[in-house]
Every structure is written in C-alpha cells, then in structure tokens.
Amino acid sequence: MTPLAQLLEAALFSASRPLTPEELATLDAEATFADVRVALEQLREHYDFEPHGVELLELAGGYQILTRPMYAAAIERAHFSVRAPKLTAAALETLAVIAYRQPVGRAEIEEIRGVSAGGVLRSLQERGLIEVVGRSDALGRPLLYGTAALFLELLGLRDVADLPRSEELTIALQPHRAVPDVGDEAAAYVEAES
C-alpha cells in the first residue's frame, strides 16, 4: 500500500462517520483529488483481493470501512461492540434499598444512603428496573418506588421474597424500620442526633 493509502486507512478507521473525498484530501496537503481516488481504489482492492473481514464502502457521499455482512451474526452474538453496561455502585445501592424497603420514597432512600438520589432514580426508572408504585400519604404526597419486573428477571428471581435475607439485613433494611424496642436496658440509653 502506498503511504497515502495507509494514511487514508488510518483516517477511515478512526473516524466515526463516512468521510468525503474532499475531507480525505485535507489529510495530505500535497495529495490531489486524483491521488486520493487512486489510493482509495488501492485500499478497496487490497481488502477484496486477499479477502479481509472488512471492506471499503462508498456511502452517504463518502467512504467508510465496515465489517463484511457475513460476520455480523457472529459478532452480534458475541456482544462486543458495546461493553455490557454494568450498574454503577450508586445505582446498585439505590436498587438494593428499594428492593428491600419497597414501597419507598425518595426522602427515605436519601436518608439511608446519605446522598441525593434524584439522578439515580431517574436512570433506574429509564432502564426499567424500578417503577412508581404509588404515592405516600406524607406531606406533598411523594412518589413511592418499587422494583419492576425486569429487576427480578435480571436477577433470575421469581419473587422479591426470594432475595437473600440475613439477620443483619433484616435489622438494617427491614421494610419499615421501627425504633428499637424500649426495654429496661434501652431506657438507660438516649438516642442522640447524629
């Protein structure tokens, strides 16, 4: 391949859209349109002569290197093009609070996690993991959230009751945390504002 063909190959590979011949000509100040056309032809032939997994296509008034259709199924099956999205720690924690305390309002989630939850709640809702399940009777009638069907589907659970429950979990995240029992011992304690 000529140096110009190599330069065009690098540019076409790194661009996120088809590049027009005019644009490609700006890569090398000394190259004419004719030079660019020749180099593009060389690149196309190179990909076709000894078969490659990619080919040079002319589309939308420009040129683009794309994978050959025959490999699409295998690549798609392997899910490479996009990294499987993982939930952020914040999203997971919010989801955890909702899963164990549903129906639960934003204020309570924020109280437990100690940070504002607006953005996370919106994104969880957009991803279909949580949904609004009602409104609280509290002042302002705030929305109450619960987990959606997709949440159980992703975790492979039949029911929210299938979520693991440990001693620690039930104490800290029980659906409606009550004030600890006031026994004889507890009477000697005063809960301070923290």
Partner: protein, 248 residues
C-alpha cells in the same frame, strides 16, 4: 508552570484568595521544588531554611488558604523547633526528627517518577486511535444488563456499612453526695464566721458537687444551722454561721 488562576471569589474567602493548584500538585511537590532549586539532597534537608522558604512560597503563591499546605507548614515549623532542641548525640536512640519527612519526600518522589512514566505511556497511547465508528444500537433493550445477586448483596452491604449509626449515650445516674457536702460546709463554718458560695464548693467542683452543695446549704439553712445572706442586689451570696449557734 501556568499563570495563577483568577481569584475565586465564589469561595467567599475574600480578596487575594488565589489558588494555583495547577502549578504544584501539593505541599510535597512544593517542598521538592524548593530542594531542587537549592540543589539539596533530600536526606540533608535544612529544616529551618526550607521551612522559611516554604512559608514564604505559600504566602507568595497565595496558597495560604489551602489546608494541605498549612498542614505541611505546621509540620515544618514543629520540625524546626525540634531541630533547635539540644541533642544528646552520644546516646543511641536519638532519631532525626526529619526522618519521617525525608521518608515521605522520597516516597512521593518515587510516585512522581511513576506518574511521569505513566503520563508518557498515556501520551504514546493517545497517538493511536481506536475504531471510531460504532454501529447504531439495535432496538433497546438488546444489550443485556449485567446484574447478579452477588452485586446486589455487595451493594446492600455497602449501604448498611454507610448507614449513619445512631449514637447511643449511656446515661449513668450519679447520686448526689449531699452528706459529704454537708460535712464540708459544717467544717468550714466551724472555722469561719462566714464563707462565700465558691468557697463552699471546694476546689474544682463538678456539676454533681455544685448540686450537692446547693442542696446541703439549703438543707442546713432550713435546719437553722446557717443563714444565707445576700448583702446587696447582684452580689454573691454569703453563707454565715447562725449567730444563735456557737462555734464548736
């Protein structure tokens, strides 16, 4: 080094608050800079001179509001004082007060060296472009979200660990010791015609002592052992021996 940024008035620290964070990445960086300028080995750091230069620099750079720099400044001043203390050189076990600072500077210098190496590696990588074209996503939600029960449980643990734990105070009922207070007041009145309230409390009284003494004094006054007199408005109360009762 870049020019100092404009004063950040948004921080409400008043005029002259100029933080040139991009010039030095921290107090250790500034210290290393000073040592380099003086061509001094880190282990030989002349604390007194470097401390003065450090203070001068943070004043000049307008960094005097930055806690990290102030923290280092106070460490340097403490070291400066320690270096002035007489040494018992003959004795084993004298540790150079600078040792910890020298260790930190060396460690930080090593990190700096690695950071420079990493910066170059990142620059070399930035010379290469990855595939820019991404095929449009097929209809959502085609990409399976990775989520499993372990992730959830770990999230739960993080939530629990991060939950503010209610602070519990044990309230211990400390009984008032009126008897001792009574004995003390009686003893004082045996020796003096009259005493002041503070005198009756004894040295360094606790709240319990104050309450005990107050109750004792009131009880003694009720029994007619003493009289409580306030000679004028807003003056301290005087505890006087009841005249009817002779001194023991």
């Amino acid at each position: 080094m870049t020019a100092p940024e404009a004063p950040t008035s948004a921080l409400g620290a008043g005029p002259g608050f100029v933080v040139q964070f991009d010039a030095f990445s921290g107090p250790l960086d500034l210290l290393l800079h000073l040592l380099r300028e003086e061509r001094i080995e880190i282990a030989e750091i002349p604390i007194a001179r470097i401390a003065d230069q450090f203070l001068g620099a943070i004043h000049e750079l307008g960094l005097d509001q930055a806690a990290d720099y102030l923290d280092m400044a106070s460490r340097l001043l403490r070291l400066k004082v320690q270096m002035l203390l007489p040494r018992r050189t003959e004795e084993d076990g004298w540790e150079d007060p600078r040792a910890e600072l020298v260790r930190r500077l060396l460690e930080y210098q090593q990190i700096r060296e690695i950071a420079v190496w990493m910066g170059r590696a990142a620059e070399r990588r930035a010379e290469r472009f990855a595939r820019g074209y991404l095929p449009p996503l097929p209809e959502l939600p085609a990409v399976p979200l990775t989520l499993d029960v372990m992730d959830m449980l770990q999230a739960v643990e993080r939530v629990i660990a991060g939950m503010p734990t209610p602070v519990l105070h044990r309230v211990i009922a400390r009984p008032l010791d009126i008897e001792t207070a009574t004995r003390r007041v009686e003893q004082l009145l045996d020796e003096h015609e009259q005493i002041g309230w503070l005198q009756a409390l004894g040295p360094r009284p606790t709240i319990v002592d104050v309450l005990s003494t107050l109750l004792a004094v009131l009880e003694l006054a009720r029994r007619g052992v003493l009289r409580l007199v306030q000679p004028a408005a807003f003056v301290p109360m005087v505890i006087a021996r009841d005249s009817a009762r002779p001194a023991a």
